[in-house]
Symmetry: C2
Subunit: 311 residues, 2 copies
């Protein structure tokens, strides 16, 4: 895939702010503002942007206008634009919206699966079957999310063997990549190691993405060990840390794109995306959402780079 900065970055950043971020914000953002946000993110150099969701507008009113968002964004060559797709109706909409990649979403915890998508894990996988085959027939890539990969907000700690089981089923359906979602944000490197030790044998490192949350402040530590110790090279993050935490209003949710990019670059990695351009893109949303961004870098962007030289 051509990279706009002229060299292949080893680490891919999957920017989920426009979907996972805005979905968990209470404010309803205008289509105009979403389009402008996605366009700004497209210019940051990130690899992929999850720009919408084709679930029922009744279920997630924040993203009811995803069809229109996809219609109006300016697509940057080399950037992958993806969306969530729960069923065949959603797949039709994704096809019409010309998304590059769809995502199906399963959980590793039965209770979370029932509460989040109203069916058992097995039923969800069954439901994804025609979606995945249909998407692949149409040349769309498919990502499989596995949420609650270490902890469930209802069941507590989740055994890695549960994740292995679901992952095997998704790979059997033909998904191209797996995003491991640490939904609750309580995991520390120890838990991520247990998880990655268990799932690593199932596929190649390049087929994994890690989707961690910063609710307990552990996101960066988890990203760094996943890269340093397991060679994971794709991370789902949200510009500005947008998204909050559905279980704790006011808490930080998604790992912030700029904090993760900073951490990886400062650690010597080659990363797709400019952290300060991501901050600038996220700042567009600060006024609209009426709260300050939870990311750390967004709070020091005004002193950068004049005051503190980059090492």
């Amino acid at each position: 895939m051509p990279h706009r900065h002229g060299h292949a970055a080893s680490i891919r950043i999957i920017e989920v702010g426009p979907r996972d971020g805005l979905q968990h914000e209470t404010a309803i953002v205008s289509t105009e503002a979403k389009v402008s946000f996605v366009n700004a993110l497209s210019r940051t150099g990130v690899t992929e942007i999850e720009a919408g969701s084709f679930v029922s507008p009744r279920a997630i009113p924040q993203l009811a206008d995803s069809d229109e968002v996809f219609q109006r964004i300016q697509r940057m060559p080399g950037v992958v634009y993806s969306a969530l797709v729960p069923n065949e109706r959603g797949l039709e909409r994704a096809r019409a919206a010309r998304v590059d990649k769809i995502s199906v979403f399963a959980a590793a915890s039965e209770t979370f699966s029932r509460r989040n998508i109203n069916c058992s894990i097995r039923e969800s996988v069954e439901r994804f079957k025609p979606v995945v085959s249909g998407a692949k027939r149409d040349g769309m890539a498919v990502r499989g999310y596995i949420s609650t990969a270490t902890h469930c907000p209802f069941e507590g700690p989740v055994r890695p063997s549960r994740v292995v089981e679901v992952m095997r089923q998704l790979l059997d359906l033909g998904v191209d990549e797996i995003s491991l979602g640490e939904t609750v944000g309580k995991a520390v490197p120890r838990h991520i190691r247990f998880l990655l030790d268990a799932v690593r044998p199932l596929t190649v490192p390049a087929a994994f993405s890690l989707h961690v949350h910063d609710t307990y402040g552990m996101a960066v530590a988890n990203v760094l060990i996943a890269w340093e110790e397991y060679g994971i090279e794709a991370f789902d993050t949200s510009a500005g840390g947008l998204g909050g935490c559905p279980y704790a209003p006011g808490a930080s949710g998604n790992a912030a794109t700029e904090d993760v990019i900073y951490a990886l670059k400062a650690s010597g990695a080659s990363v797709a995306g400019d952290e300060w351009m991501v901050v600038a893109a996220a700042k567009q949303m600060e006024g609209i959402l009426n709260h300050t961004l939870p990311s750390r870098l967004s709070r020091v962007s005004h002193i950068h780079p004049s005051c503190e030289p980059v090492p």
Copy 2:
């Protein structure tokens, strides 16, 4: 040292909120509120509390009442109460205040030394000589701070050999322990490893404390590798993440005590201090300082522990 929870915790938490935290807040906090804050912290189980500073009240008006704070706090048996001491006049005040431990503060960067304490590194060490010997004669323990241990806000990256040089001089003076201050908050584990590789040969692991900042969101990652890879067992942290960043108003500064305790406990360490009691203590300051706390745990304390079982 007897520990109130009935067993020796392997990791010591040096709570610096009442000093380093309040020193970098713009609001002036009443003596009453400071005393109440220290008393609440004393009940959390942390090992040590840096409760004040005996620098010139003109230099740091926020802490001008340290003498009175020390007079009025209720001392918890087993907790060490410490204070910053810049010179012999400060030592007299520390003695009168019956502090258990004094801290002298040097830097690894000449520019920072001149801007922060208005003298060269060599001059600062000279100035500490009678302070350290006087303190030890009176039975007080002595900590030596070395700030800008990886990055300087004025000079940029700092070579570990500069830290080694200053540390050797402080150890020669007879200080009992060294706190390595990552002042700017830009360091990632790679930088902490360079630093610890260089300074480790100079003394035993038990004589080190790591003092990191969360300005760029790297605090927890740095603490975890220092413990996991180097056996560092003392960390300077600030309840609630109080303290901001002197170079970036509104940014987070000190590593938050509760986030660090959570990270270490969840990683399997035995840590002195209860993270949720620390949050409660820090919350006392939220109204007084008129801003929300930057720590991550402080934002989810209202859903804990009912919603999310501890692993």
